[in-house]
């Protein structure tokens, strides 16, 4: 059942992505100031968005675990953190490439970039912490608490451009600046596509996590019997 859902979603995502790629690469006009690098936008922003959503979902799943003590919420938390980390990596890589061209450097330590990096390190910390605890219940509990603490970084990433002076631009989209409608719609179409990719990855990881847990339990049982 779950498998079928994944297949269906994968097909939808593939269709969407192909359609979007065609639009992004061939249809939308070249940016007047930046040239072609600006096409990074269509991946930079959706992946950032997906990853922040993922971090929030991970925190919610962690709270759910602490309330219900059901390991399936723990599995959801790991899966989302992992996917969020991948998405954040995409954001950082696309952003870096963009920065290299528009700002002339790969990286600078403004508030948006720094808080993004902190978020990335927080997810690494989460994953490394999990490897250090064998017992699944304790692992779930401890990493859930950590995830809740870590989620405090999400609003900082989001609002950093408003709270602090940053080199990273405030989004013209929201501030009412002008953007070509074709670009805007292409961006709006690619957000659900990337989001869907994220969802599929989460579902896949979830299955994997459940199977691994089952396997662990069986192996321990086998050992106590021998």
């Amino acid at each position: 059942m779950r498998k079928n859902i994944i297949y269906v979603l994968a097909v939808v995502a593939a269709v969407l992505l192909v359609r979007n790629l065609e639009v992004i690469l061939l249809r939308v006009p070249v940016d007047a100031e930046q040239g072609n690098v600006y096409r990074n936008l269509y991946f930079h922003v959706p992946s950032a968005f997906t990853s922040l959503l993922g971090s929030i979902l991970a925190a919610v799943a962690s709270i759910a675990y602490l309330v219900y003590k059901d390991l399936k919420y723990d599995a959801l938390a790991v899966a989302t953190v992992e996917v969020a980390m991948v998405m954040l990596t995409v954001t950082m890589v696309t952003g870096s490439i963009w920065a290299r061209v528009t700002w002339g450097i790969w990286w600078t330590w403004d508030a948006r970039l720094t808080s993004t990096f902190v978020g990335w390190l927080l997810s690494i910390g989460y994953l490394v912490l999990r490897t250090a605890i064998e017992e699944p219940t304790a692992r779930a509990r401890i990493s859930a608490v950590y995830a809740i603490f870590a989620s405090a970084d999400v609003p900082i990433i989001w609002f950093s451009i408003e709270w602090f002076r940053t080199q990273h631009p405030a989004p013209v989209l929201r501030a009412g600046g002008y953007i070509d409608p074709a670009m805007k719609s292409a961006l709006y179409w690619n957000v659900p596509a990337i989001l869907l990719v994220g969802v599929i990855l989460v579902l896949l990881r979830l299955r994997q996590e459940e199977m691994r847990r089952e396997l662990d339990g069986l192996r321990r049982l086998a050992h106590t019997l021998s």
């Binding site: 003590k69 699944p136 219940t137 662990d216 321990r220 049982l221 106590t224």
Partner: protein, 232 residues
């Protein structure tokens, strides 16, 4: 009122069930010896009753309240392998500290009283760090009994103790039983435990396979219960 009521308790470490549908009650004044092979789940069960970790399913009631309720904790005394006193503090400081944490009216007096009972009054102001093994063990006993608990939980209390220390512990426990305390303890040293136990329970792979009054046979042949359920 029932001292300890364990109802259909399960405990999972991941998917592995360390305890499975454990149900039993302990009446006030009983001394229950939990027996079972290595890994049977004795420590896990005691920790759940003591409120150190929650049951995965089912519930534990201690004098009618949950294990983590503050009132329950006030009535419970726990002694594990560790002596649970601070090396950097003196004997009396340790006991006074715990007296205060338990909200005793006069922690100082209770501390002195128990130092006397355990024969440590002469070293009341010595740092625990400098105590010998036997003295530490006595201080640990004093700490566990300080707040006059109604329920005592002991995990392998006799391990690594010499004959004399075992005798001290047994006599304190016997006193406790006479005063109406309830005791639940786990142990592999059956002989020492059987002198006190009024009841025994056998755990096997997380299940409680037997629970009864201590059969008189076990005084002379402590392995009796294992032999009966030998190759479970």
């Amino acid at each position: 009122m029932i001292a300890v009521a364990v109802e259909d308790v399960w405990k999972f470490f991941g998917d592995y069930p360390a305890l499975r549908e454990i149900s039993f009650t302990v009446e006030p004044g009983e001394c229950l010896a939990l027996l079972g092979r290595n890994g049977a789940g004795k420590t896990t069960l005691l920790r759940i009753i003591a409120g150190f970790s929650p049951a995965g399913r089912g519930q534990v009631r201690v004098f009618g309240r949950t294990a983590r309720a503050v009132e329950t904790r006030r009535l419970t005394g726990v002694l594990g392998h560790g002596i649970a006193v601070y090396d950097e503090l003196s004997a009396i400081e340790n006991l006074t500290l715990f007296g205060k944490l338990y909200g005793l009216a006069d922690p100082e007096r209770a501390a002195r009283e128990w130092l006397e009972r355990t024969g440590l009054e002469r070293v009341a102001h010595g740092l625990v760090r400098e105590f010998s093994r036997g003295m530490r063990q006595r201080l640990a006993i004093a700490r566990a009994f300080l707040h006059d608990p109604k329920l005592l939980l002991f995990d392998e209390p006799f391990t690594s103790l010499d004959d004399r220390a075992i005798a001290v512990l047994q006599s304190v426990l016997r006193d406790g039983l006479l005063r109406g305390c309830t005791i639940v303890m786990s142990t592999h040293q059956l002989r020492e435990a059987m002198e006190l136990a009024t009841h025994v329970a056998l755990l096997n792979q997380g299940r409680m396979v037997h629970r009864c009054e201590r059969p008189p046979e076990m005084l002379s042949d402590p392995g009796w219960l294992y032999a009966r359920y030998g190759d479970l």
